[in-house]
């Protein structure tokens, strides 16, 4: 009876109530999407590299080296010489290494030079390795393997011919040495999806006629001649390293960091990521804090709307009282109203959230390589909802008490 009454009363004020619900749902959605984004970003980042014990590159901050070598974002680090890499490979603690060479691009996608071992050694999300979806890994010097995202976005198939550009955004192409797509990888949800992978020798080959970042004018070595050349790389960007025993990691890390011939840095990927997150965490908390404040503001807004509606509903209240409703029923009605509004807002905000996430997911994935996982709500969200309902009841108490006060007065003397 009370429920029905309260519901019809709300229905009668559809527009104001509707606006209140909209305001609250948007603020709730804001909070939830911030929360979703931050958890997704964290898992997406941590899942990107596993089973790699150390990443070795030129002297740089650990975060910079991690971001550039694994996520291919941020500023480029210097390269390290092949000699230093060979020194590293010969260390007894080292189980395996995978060299990586970055610097060129194809239509905005990073080109990475590596060897075939990358495909078996690079692991993500626990213990998953990248696997070939179509075609085969590079066999020929000019074979290229595409990440799933690259193939999808550029519409490339096996056998498509492509040209690598020098640098990231440059107009000089390595057009004298076209590549051919030999394989396309399965989707991984990691930056590998957006990477064009070639052999280290190919990186060396396309730079044969280049010197200090520019093409040597008039020089064009025929491809046949290049194929005959020694294409051992002179330098690489970074190396992924696996050790035989975890207990020797720090010993090897120290050896690398103190390597006298070249300034190098060795990082533990997880440790560097955590370091990054301690910085990002501050911003995350700030965002969360802001969205909590927004929720609070809308709650206050809800109370304000209830207050202002009270004066226009004095008649309504008086009628309720005349019909035999006790002043406590009036309080109950207003609190029920608040609960209704908050439940409706929660439902609406969840719908909104999923719409927004679905819309934004491809864009975030494309631009930032973060896969926002759109999954059902977590228990944590339920706590937030419960907390929100309690908060809205508390907030509605103020107008409810006022209504109670009114209704006692109005019951006695009706003012017109």
């Amino acid at each position: 009876m009370l429920l029905k009454l309260s519901f019809s009363s709300l229905y009668a004020r559809l527009v104001t109530v509707g606006m209140t619900i909209l305001a609250i749902s948007v603020s709730l959605m804001l909070y939830m999407s911030v929360e979703k984004l931050r958890t997704s970003a964290y898992t997406s980042f941590t899942d990107t590299i596993s089973q790699t014990d150390l990443i070795v590159g030129a002297r740089a901050s650990s975060v910079q080296l991690l971001l550039y070598s694994v996520f291919r974002i941020g500023n480029a680090t210097n390269n390290i010489t092949w000699e230093s890499y060979l020194d590293l490979v010969s260390k007894e603690e080292v189980d395996w290494t995978v060299p990586i060479s970055l610097g060129d691009s194809h239509k905005g996608f990073r080109v990475m030079g590596t060897n075939k071992e990358f495909f078996s050694r690079y692991k993500y999300r626990g213990n998953q390795s990248v696997s070939i979806d179509k075609g085969y890994l590079f066999e020929d010097l000019y074979d290229v393997v595409l990440g799933a995202g690259v193939a999808e976005k550029l519409g490339y198939k096996i056998g498509t011919s492509l040209v690598v550009s020098h640098g990231l955004k440059s107009f000089s192409d390595h057009d004298d040495q076209p590549f051919r797509v030999s394989g396309i990888l399965k989707k991984t949800g990691t930056p590998v999806d957006n990477t064009v992978i070639v052999s280290l020798a190919a990186i060396e080959a396309i730079h044969v006629d280049w010197s200090t970042g520019a093409k040597i004018p008039g020089q064009l070595t025929p491809i046949d001649e290049i194929r005959e050349m020694d294409l051992t790389p002179k330098n690489i960007t970074a190396a992924l390293v696996g050790v035989k025993s975890k207990l020797t990691i720090f010993q090897l890390q120290r050896w690398i960091n103190e390597y006298p011939e070249e300034a190098m840095t060795a990082i533990l990927p997880g440790a560097a990521l955590q370091e990054l997150w301690r910085v990002v965490g501050v911003i995350e908390n700030l965002l969360l804090g802001i969205s909590v404040v927004v929720i609070f503001t809308t709650l206050v807004g809800m109370a304000a709307i209830m207050f202002s509606s009270l004066s226009e509903r004095r008649r309504e209240m008086a009628i309720w009282r005349a019909m035999g409703a006790s002043p406590f029923t009036v309080i109950g009605l207003l609190m029920l109203e608040a609960i209704f509004i908050s439940i409706l807002s929660i439902t609406f905000s969840v719908v909104l959230l999923f719409c927004v996430l679905n819309l934004l997911q491809p864009w975030i994935d494309y631009n930032y390589g973060i896969l926002v996982n759109i999954e059902m709500l977590a228990i944590k969200d339920m706590y937030v909802f419960a907390l929100f309902i309690i908060a809205s009841i508390t907030v509605s108490l103020l107008p409810a008490i006022r209504a109670y006060w009114f209704s006692i007065n109005d019951g006695m003397t009706i003012k017109l």
Partner: protein, 234 residues
């Protein structure tokens, strides 16, 4: 001929430059920030502390005065008893199998250092023929009785480590403590706490790198929350 001389001059210049470049690297050193590396594999857990001298004894010059020497000695004794530094949950049943505590100037560069009271610098074992100024030898005796506290101390060869001519200037000293444990139930280690912060009131923060078969992570530990949470990380 003259050309040859020029070439060789040029060559030697190049060589000197490259040699100089190769060796001019200096490790990072930050007061108030100690480093801790923890590695877990199988039943073993290794902890390795590298703490700037300032954080432990409040100074980083070589201990010359009686009081300073006593401070260093006292600090080393504190490190010997690992419970002063960190504690591992008893449920994990961990036993110390090896400990190695030293104070180290951490330098392989040749600026002028004076390593009179250096402890275990095994790298410098070649050129100790001249044991001239052994006046400072007294402090080694203290290190000797150190060995009684610990099974695996290598503070034995102090006699030979005086007067390294190639090092004449002061370095930042660093305490290095390495502990290895064998654990009956290593998965029970869900937290490691650090009485270190109360043992050494001068201490600042600890930068922790942690690695296990599950992966690696890092922590920043400070005195107000002197522990790391390792749930699900071993």
């Amino acid at each position: 001929m003259r050309k040859n001389i020029y070439y060789s001059l040029l060559l030697s210049a190049l060589v000197t430059v490259s040699v100089a470049e190769e060796t001019r690297q200096v490790d990072k050193h930050e007061h108030g920030v100690g480093e801790l590396n923890i590695a877990v594999e199988g039943n073993s857990i290794d902890l390795e502390f590298m703490i700037p001298g300032a954080d432990i004894v409040g100074f980083e010059y070589k201990a010359k005065s009686e009081a300073d020497i006593a401070l260093v000695k006292d600090a080393l004794i504190k490190f010997d008893e690992f419970n002063n530094i960190f504690s591992i949950p008893s449920a994990s049943n961990c036993n110390l199998v090896e400990a190695d505590i030293s104070i180290n100037q951490g330098d392989n560069h040749k600026d002028e250092h004076n390593h009179d009271e250096h402890d275990d610098h095994d790298e410098h074992e070649d050129d100790h023929d001249e044991h001239d100024d052994h006046d400072e030898h007294d402090d080694h005796d203290e290190h000797d009785d150190h060995d009684e506290h610990e099974d695996e101390h290598d503070h034995d060869d102090h006699g030979e480590h005086d007067d390294h001519d190639e090092h004449d200037e002061e370095a930042h000293n660093e305490f290095v403590a390495h502990y290895s444990f064998n654990c009956g139930n290593i998965k029970e280690i869900d937290r490691i706490s650090f009485p270190y912060f109360t043992t050494f009131p001068n201490s600042g923060e600890l930068e922790v790198q942690f690695v296990s078969e599950i992966g690696s992570t890092s922590f920043e530990v400070e005195g107000d929350e002197p522990f790391i949470d390792l749930k699900g990380k071993i």
